[in-house]
């Protein structure tokens, strides 16, 4: 269990670094979602199922959907801008 814990901690750091290292925001959102799932497993190992449930639902599910909506909204704005310039 201790090996799994440290493995998950390392993976947490790797996903957090990958989330900020890409220029494409969509990839960052996917990595944030993976980050949340790894964090859920860590909370479960540390005997906090309440927080794990909240993290799984909000971090992996809801945050991704809301970020995707914001991205699509920003891109629609940018597209509108380009077409007006043309």
């Amino acid at each position: 269990m201790i090996i799994l814990k440290y493995l998950l901690l390392i993976f947490l750091g790797v996903t957090a670094y990958l989330a900020i290292s890409f220029k494409e925001i969509l990839i960052s959102i996917i990595f944030l979602s993976i980050f949340s799932i790894v964090l859920t497993a860590l909370y479960l190992i540390h005997n906090a199922p309440d927080v794990a449930l909240a993290e799984a639902v909000i971090g992996a599910g809801l945050n991704t959907a809301i970020f995707m909506t914001v991205i699509s909204q920003i891109r629609a704005d940018e597209d509108c801008h380009c077409r007006k310039d043309d």
Partner: protein
């Protein structure tokens, strides 16, 4: 220049991490003190509140006033987002995803709903509670807008219905608090309405009612946030 900035950020973060790691060892071990809150809760929480899940017992009984503040924060966030983003146009979206996805999600929806109701109703027995179950309730509505297109859910459950659900959840919470003043003299005190033995579904006084109120409030609030965010997008897609 940017390289120096990166290296300095890494050094500062490593330094802060080291300080936090050293501070973590200085936190007093609460098992040592005989009169600490830890011992009080582990010894008396089942007898005082009837809830087997101590996290729920703390959130909705000992510190229920804090939870009311949190739900007020969410109410403020929903109001602000609706004020900034909402438009009075019906969202016209794409036709959603393919037939297979639609049928699969249609079959899965009752089970997701059952799971969220289970988490809300068993908040005082198993991990979870009003907040987690409510977010799953909101997620059902959000996945509907992704799979079936945003018109589907919007026409059946208008923002007025969702606002009604949210405010009724908040009123249930505050109403239980106000009944507590009449009943036993303090705001949000535990009314022993459901007082069968601890561990059964109808136990833990007023905690299940507060869970129900929080669940409806959070679920409807998150759905309102999502739908007020997509409305603008689809208006601009329609104008193209």
């Amino acid at each position: 220049m940017s390289r120096i900035k990166h290296i300095s950020i890494v050094i500062i973060l490593a330094f802060l991490g080291l300080i936090m790691l050293l501070d973590l060892n200085k936190i007093p071990n609460q098992f040592e003190y005989a009169n600490s809150i830890y011992h009080h809760i582990t010894n008396n929480a089942v007898g005082e509140t009837g809830s087997l899940n101590f996290v729920t017992a703390i959130l909705y009984d000992y510190r229920a006033y804090d939870s009311m503040g949190e739900s007020t924060i969410i109410f403020g966030a929903v109001s602000g987002i609706v004020l900034l983003l909402s438009r009075k146009t019906l969202p016209v979206s794409s036709h959603g995803l393919s037939f297979i996805v639609k049928r699969t999600y249609g079959m899965l929806t009752p089970f997701i709903f059952l799971f969220s109701v289970y988490i809300i109703a068993h908040g005082h027995l198993s991990p979870g509670g009003g907040f987690q179950g409510g977010v799953i309730l909101g997620a059902i509505s959000i996945i509907f807008s992704i799979v079936y297109g945003s018109e589907f859910d919007y026409k059946r459950y208008t923002p007025t219905t969702k606002t009604l659900l949210e405010t009724s959840g908040a009123l249930l919470f505050i109403g239980i608090g106000l009944i507590g003043i009449i009943y036993s003299g303090s705001f949000l005190s535990n009314l022993n309405i459901l007082n069968s033995e601890p561990g059964s579904l109808l136990s833990a006084g007023s905690i299940p009612f507060i869970n129900l109120g929080i669940g409806f409030k959070i679920g409807a609030g998150l759905a309102i946030i999502f739908y007020s965010m997509i409305q603008k997008t689809f208006k601009e897609e329609a104008s193209l």
